[in-house]
Amino acid sequence: MNVPALLRPLRRWWPALALVVLVLLPYSALSLPGLLDGPIGSPGSLQLLALCLVFGALATGYDLLLGRTGLLSFGHALYFAAGTYATDLLLTQTGLGFWPSAALGLLAGVVLAALLGSVSLRMTGIGFAMVTLAFAQAGSILVERDPGGVTGGEEGLAATGLPGWLVGIQHTANLYWIALAYLVVTLAAVQWAVRSPIGRVWEGIRENERRVEVLGLRPYGFKLVAFVLAGTLAALGGVVYLLLTGGATPQATTSDFTLSLLVMVVLGGSGSRWGPLVGGVLYTWAQHRLASLAGSGTIAGLPSVLRVPLSQPLFLLGVLFVVIVYALPGGVAGLPARLRGRGAQA
């Protein structure tokens, strides 16, 4: 209410402004000591920023299930990995070009999400969580056991036959723009879906599924649409991730990967527009910084009681997660409202 008139358009247009800034970042030579190792436009920083954007988008897609429809899926890694591995396998095995491979890889993710979603959604609540977890585990085992020597097992699978403008350190900016485009697509798709009539039904399912049934709608179909849409976005993210890292790694298939998406969503604030994005960016950035911190001299000099736990980013993130669940139920996105609420009370 008391925002100055000059700032009022800013409230409405700040996402567009932020987008313009993000598009122009590769041309910047600004350096942010402590936040990034080199100048923003350097390949290393751009790579980290691109990863942050991809995980922000993945968390946003995952929140379509968790925060928007109230479905606790523990198998989201499977659809991400389907996009990565299917595209990678088509590239290395069939020698198809990149674009046909990417399209077929995406299709593989969609089909898998539709098939497995239709089975898992027969369960509700925690049963659904366990079944999705079991399916994802099957995928993870399949990749690690390396049938016929095609997936590369624990070594992962390096992508071959990518177009030249997507490979190599001098083209990192292109990869960054692709990651940004993926983020914009995800945000637009989620926003559009949540505002559509289907999105209203999702909201109803989240609040009270029985009531939606009483109104004469079958939740199953609506939940399946949410599941397939989230799976599609994850598979697309898998293709982008393949480009960013130049290959597929089995870590992307594990349940820990899904759990990290869950941590991002809860960290940022589930069910809000920007929360999962913020959580994904923060988590990815923190993980990379903590890993490089653990390898640096600052930590090696500490006594072992502090050094040992601090050398494990996953330990810190797990503890941080528990703290967030306790102290900040709405996540980072809920923080301004909480502070305002406290101010109003005082």
Partner: protein, 287 residues
């Protein structure tokens, strides 16, 4: 024939491990609606405590007892410290256990390294014996025996004691038990203690079965524990007992008679098929 016997005994041994994990999960979920993602962490704590004691020249039985005690304490601490303040918020409870499930294996690998540590198997349990023409390792029998003891003890506890009665009644209808003036929350700590003890025992026995301990053992066993819980019907100990035998046997036979890894997949396919036919699991109890 001897192969079939060996595969059956090994499958049953693996099923015994799954049962120890799943029985606690199933009780905790049935009573409190909490899917305990920290159960794998409890198993790992039990495994490392047993390994630590066994490599410091405790005997194996004493080391197993020590590991189980440490796991039980960890489980009670988890319930009192993290789960209890979040009562009435089941989703936050699940999330808190997810955090613990991430942090504990990371801490274990920070202290003892991410690589597998060799488990000192005592000579009396490292041998083999002959059963119907097959040479079977003794440790399989230990596992099956332990699971049977736990199953019978749980059955006796749930069926014959007053606390067991409260737990069973709480699984059926928690609100009604509270309305009758019984403090169910004391039973919550109790099932966490039982579940943690069973998981830590499974950890100590897993060290014997696999011959090594590593930080990720807990989470990979936990996933099959989930499969067993869903198949058996959430909240049912007998259902978990039947399901773990099926899962263990299917996994072993499929792994042997087809390529390795297919056994793990066939378990999941079995789960999907069962859910298509009977969405509420073997015992027909709804989640």
């Amino acid at each position: 024939m001897s192969t079939v016997v060996l595969l059956s005994v090994t499958g049953l041994g693996l099923g015994a491990l799954y049962f120890l994990v799943a029985s606690g999960l199933s009780l905790i979920f049935g009573l409190m609606d909490v899917l305990n993602f920290a159960h794998g962490a409890l198993l790992s704590i039990g495994a490392y405590a047993t390994w630590w004691a066994a490599s410091h020249s405790f005997g194996y039985p004493l080391a197993l007892l020590f590991g189980t005690a440490v796991g039980t304490l960890a489980s009670v601490a988890l319930e009192l410290g993290l789960i209890r303040p979040l009562y009435r918020r089941p989703r936050e409870q699940v999330l808190a256990t997810v955090g613990v499930g991430l942090a504990v294996p990371a801490l274990l690998s920070a202290i003892w390294g991410a690589d597998a540590r060799t488990f000192p198997v005592p000579a009396s349990l490292g041998g083999t014996f002959t059963l119907l023409g097959a040479t079977v390792p003794v440790d399989r029998l230990v596992l099956i025996g332990a699971a049977l003891v736990v199953l019978l003890a749980l059955k006796a506890f749930l069926g014959r004691t007053r606390h067991g009665l409260v737990v069973r009644a709480g699984v059926e209808d928690r609100a009604m038990v509270t309305a009758l003036g019984i403090d169910v929350r004391r039973a919550f700590t109790l099932v966490f203690a039982i579940g943690g003890a069973a998981a830590a025992l499974a950890g100590g026995l897993a060290g014997l079965y696999f011959g090594s301990v590593d930080p990720t053992q807990g989470s990979s066993l936990l996933i099959f524990g989930f499969v067993v819980v869903v198949m058996g019907g959430l909240g049912s100990v007998s259902g978990a007992a039947v399901a773990c035998v099926v899962v263990g046997l299917v996994q072993q036979f499929a792994n042997y008679y087809s390529t390795a890894g297919l056994g793990d997949l066939s378990v999941v396919v079995l789960l999907a098929a069962l859910l298509l036919v009977r969405p509420s699991g073997l015992t027909g109890r709804l989640a």
